[in-house]
């Protein structure tokens, strides 16, 4: 970047020309609605469709009751588990893409990004079709079961009982699986960009100095990919924490997450002030996460 954009402080007019539209857009459609919701969180219902902003903290008090706090903590646990699984699956995937022949790399990356071309709702329904009691996963498992049963008859043993489909959907397992499925690309892409920047001769140097592949991975690859890991964790954890659609469609009665509770306040319960308080509690939590991460990043810079 050079010229007018770089020294915008001395060249205010071109900067203003470029910046006005997006600033206006964000103010109107992001900051203003958020401010309204924030104000609601200090209000109370005075009629079926009217809210009085009285400055009360009752909504926050109620939001921190154990009933809601436990759902909140559970959401955090589900999001954390999702992030961890994404990291464990995503790291080898990112490494495989990094070490793939250059002509394959764009195609592999395209494969990672392809799900974004389809609407989340459609992807979720597709996954549900796969996991239903009559879905392909159950059919596949049933096929294996029957195969095993047939093999037993070959060696003269009793055949197995008939296959009873496994309940894969509408439980916590389904929610985590669905969240992993949706968020994996968010983990792989920052990991890939960190690993791609890693000088491959560092890995060779480690091998050359006597380290095996595992030690090289732990002592060289992981520390140097740390910025990518942190970025991947953040952009997986935060949306997973606020996930709504996946637990709503794939979860059971006991697997609702905080976003589902919030949605209920705005719709069925018609308690907007309480929903607003819950929403902002989630936002505060994310702020704290991001603040911790940037403090850590600053500390790393200072050490350098």
């Amino acid at each position: 970047m050079s010229g007018a954009l770089q020294d915008w402080k001395s060249q205010k007019r071109p900067f203003a020309a470029i910046a006005t539209a997006p600033v206006f857009w964000l103010a109107l459609f992001f900051v203003a609605p958020m401010a309204i919701v924030w104000l609601y969180s200090f209000g109370q219902n005075v009629g079926p469709a009217s809210i009085e902003i009285s400055g009360t903290l009752d909504n926050y008090k109620r939001a921190t009751e154990w009933l809601y706090l436990s759902i909140f903590l559970k959401s955090l646990a589900v999001a954390a588990l999702t992030t961890l699984i994404c990291l464990i699956i995503g790291f080898p995937v990112a490494m495989a893409i990094t070490f793939a022949a250059p002509k394959w790399r764009p195609w592999l990356l395209l494969g990672i990004m392809l799900p974004f071309w389809t609407n989340l709702l459609i992807r979720t329904y597709a996954l549900m079709a796969l996991m239903g009691t009559n879905g392909y996963m159950n059919k596949g498992l049933g096929g294996l079961w029957e195969g095993a049963s047939w093999l037993r008859t070959l060696v003269g043993m009793q055949p197995l009982e008939a296959w009873t489909p496994v309940q894969l959907l509408y439980n916590n397992f389904a929610v985590v699986l669905g969240l992993v499925y949706v968020h994996l690309p968010f983990m792989v892409l920052p990991l890939y960009s960190a690993l791609d920047r890693l000088d491959k001769s560092l890995i060779e140097a480690s091998l050359d100095l006597g380290a095996g592949h595992f030690k090289t991975f732990m002592k060289v690859v992981v520390p140097l990919a740390a910025p990518g890991i942190v970025a991947g964790v953040m952009i997986t954890l935060i949306p997973a924490l606020g996930a709504y659609l996946t637990p709503d469609l794939m979860g059971g009665t006991d697997s609702q997450m905080i976003a589902n509770v919030i949605e209920r306040q705005f719709k069925r319960a018609n308690d907007w002030p309480f929903g607003a308080a819950l929403s902002f509690l989630l936002i505060y939590a994310m702020f704290i996460l991001i603040a911790l991460q940037s403090m850590r990043a600053n500390k790393v810079k200072e050490v350098r």
């Binding site: 001769s201 060779e204 140097a205 091998l207 050359d208 100095l209 006597g210 095996g212 140097l224």
Partner: protein, 376 residues
């Protein structure tokens, strides 16, 4: 330096193919214990591939590499008694100098006290005492290279491999490092195998040089032999600057030979070349081995018409190009036959560069043992 004549590395009929490309083509050579061995060649000639096969990062398609009497075919890089200094240095950016240099020893499970002593010793060796706590991004390229050197030397390898060790340094530092590397090799007595495309580096540091061309060894010789007795046109041309003339061998006796070159005239030599009589050969003549003077002013002229001392070859031409380089001046001279010959002349006095100018008619002569007759 105690030089024994046992080969520390034996490369036996090694080939490496990447798909259809043959990077290394059936190379066989021995690297002796304690020598400073240089693999010299243009980029893409296969020298780095050969080095990487010794380190274990590439596996030979065919052939065998034996290090210290042990076949390396099934030995991974982390188990080989060699260490490498990478072209990019590959200093771990997330570790300070001490941790970088001690990395291999920590992996090997050496006791902490010994690691500290050996790291200190290695840093002294590469003149990096006092840099223990520096991070790599606070160091210059030359200093990072010293870290990489210390990191390898601290492992006390049988062989130290260096991939283009000086290519990223500026000219002054490069000259200094050439001396330091030779000195270091003398001190530690470890066999060094270096890859370079820079002939100056090869000539100044090596005890022996293998010139690699298109995956094959074009010549394996000590530096001075490489320069004065090149085996073929590729080596003559790649190592140093040279004039090459095509010709026909017309006389070949034990104490004299003659080559008839259409571009240069008849070239006489005071030794035999044992080539097939009447064969097409090439005469290689180094620019600095040609004397240049004004016609009629040849020194110790016995045959005035030839302007040359007894037993010297001679030629005449016109100066078509000059470049003054300070210590020497390079001339491009058009011979009477039309071909261009390059001559370099040391500026022994401050006014030497004023002796000649463009379009001057000049005489040249050279000793009968200066030209090299090449058969291929």
């Amino acid at each position: 330096m105690t030089e024994t004549k046992t080969p520390i590395i034996q490369i036996r009929n090694v080939s490496k193919r990447f798909g259809k490309v043959t990077a290394v083509d059936n190379i066989t050579l021995d690297i002796l214990a304690g020598e400073f061995f240089v693999l010299l060649g243009p980029s893409g000639c296969g020298k780095t591939t050969l080095l990487r096969m010794i380190a274990g990062f590439e596996m030979p398609t065919e052939g065998q590499i034996i290090i210290d009497g042990q076949d390396m075919s099934m030995v991974p890089p982390n188990k080989r008694p060699v260490n490498m200094v990478f072209q990019s240095y590959a200093v771990f950016p997330h570790m300070n100098v001490t941790d970088n240099v001690g990395y291999g020893l920590r992996i090997a499970g050496v006791a902490k006290g010994e690691i500290r002593d050996r790291v200190t010793e290695a840093l002294e060796l590469v003149k990096l005492g006092g840099f223990e706590d520096r991070m790599p991004d606070q160091m210059s390229g030359g200093q990072r290279q010293r870290v990489a050197l210390a990191r390898s030397l601290v492992m006390r390898p049988k062989v130290l491999l260096l991939d283009e060790p000086l290519s990223a340094l500026d000219a002054k530092l490069r000259a200094q490092m050439q001396f330091e590397l030779s000195d270091l090799q003398d001190k530690v007595g470890i066999t060094f195998v270096t890859v370079t495309h820079d002939q100056d580096e090869a000539l100044s540091m090596a005890s022996r040089v293998a010139v690699i061309n298109k995956g094959e060894v074009a010549q394996l010789a000590p530096p001075s032999d490489l320069y004065e007795y090149p085996a073929n046109r590729f080596v003559a041309d790649f190592v140093g600057s040279v004039n090459i003339f095509e010709g026909r061998l017309t006389l070949d006796e034990p104490d004299k030979a003659a080559v008839d070159c259409p571009g240069l005239g008849k070239v006489y030599l005071n030794h035999g070349v044992t080539g097939p009589h009447g064969a097409d050969v090439w005469v290689a003549l180094r620019p600095e081995k040609i004397y240049l003077h004004v016609p009629g002013e040849g020194k110790a002229v016995t045959a005035a018409s030839q302007d040359a001392p007894d037993g010297h070859n001679f030629a005449r031409g016109t100066i078509k190009g000059m470049s003054y380089l300070g210590d020497i001046t390079l001339f491009e001279i058009q011979l009477e036959g039309g071909q261009i010959i390059r001559v370099s002349r040391p500026n022994l006095s401050r006014h030497d560069q004023e002796d000649f100018t463009w379009d001057d008619k000049v005489s040249m002569h050279w000793r009968a043992d200066s030209p090299v007759v090449l058969l291929s």
